[in-house]
Amino acid sequence: MNFAQFLKTDKLMSADSLILFFIVATVLVGGAILFSTFMAPTSSNPAKFEPYECGIPTKGTTWLQFNVGYYLFAILFLVFDVETVFVFPWAVVMKELGMVAFVEIVIFFFVLVLGLAYAWKKKALVWE
């Protein structure tokens, strides 16, 4: 069996409903933006396309210096997001497996809480 025949087997299942929602969203947004672009009246003056800054001319570049805290919280989020992914399958079978699953999750969470406690102790959870 070559590649073309492999593609024709029925092993692939359909994701067409999902792509449908994607298409509907595309049609909605694209259609409305196109409609507005062609139908809406346009006008122009020198001040119109300046970024807003309380009515005075903009100063300097848009680039600002941000608190590194933003990045720290993003990384912490990623860590706990990974944790969520592993806890979801656990949650489904918790009822069936009983004691074993309970002990395993207690250990899992204990180690994670250590990390949270460390961040707390080092004042990483405080916004400066």
Partner: protein
């Protein structure tokens, strides 16, 4: 027959999106645009997983890669990069070398793919539901993954500590 045709259309659609957005990702000269195209590559890959009916992996792909890693990348771009910033054009010599390397890669994979004799699987497709995944994740016998499951928490702990240490380091 028509269902198969529909699947083929979907497969070609997703693959075309992956190829197109991958090329855009590496050729775009604005860094945030590259990150956005990367997002679309990852989402199309998730679409392929949905086609294979492996929904858990697809959702993991969306949460971790699209909703996690890409958000982190965009955050760091917002922190460090300026909207007017553009990468320099790639010098012609590098460009040619790159195209040759990519072209030979494509040729190699295509010849392998087209000459390979695929063996059709006789087994029924296994439906991977959450129960199976959860049980093998928590099982401590053979085919069980409870040790990796617990080690992951240690890995995550290390990640938290590292992030805090780096971010809270005294200014030099």
């Amino acid at each position: 027959m028509e269902a198969i045709l529909g699947n083929q259309v979907m497969f070609i659609l997703f693959s075309a999106m992956i190829v197109m957005f991958s090329i855009l990702t590496v050729t775009s000269r604005r860094i945030l645009r590259a990150a956005t195209f990367l997002l679309f590559v990852l989402l199309s890959t998730a679409g392929l997983y949905f086609m294979l009916n492996y929904q858990f992996l697809a959702a993991v792909q969306i949460t971790l890669y699209a909703g996690g890693i890409v958000v982190l990348i965009i955050f760091s771009i917002l922190l460090t990069s300026h909207i007017d910033h553009k990468f320099d054009r790639v010098p012609a010599q590098k460009l040619i070398m790159g195209v040759i390397a990519a072209g030979s890669g494509i040729a190699l994979s295509l010849t392998t793919l087209l000459t390979y004799n695929f063996v059709p699987a006789n087994q029924e497709p296994i439906s991977v539901d959450m129960n199976t995944i959860g049980k093998s994740l928590l099982n401590y016998g053979d085919h069980g993954f409870v040790l990796p499951f617990e080690v992951i928490s240690v890995l995550l702990l290390a990640a938290i500590v590292a992030a805090v240490v780096i971010a809270k380091r005294k200014k030099i």
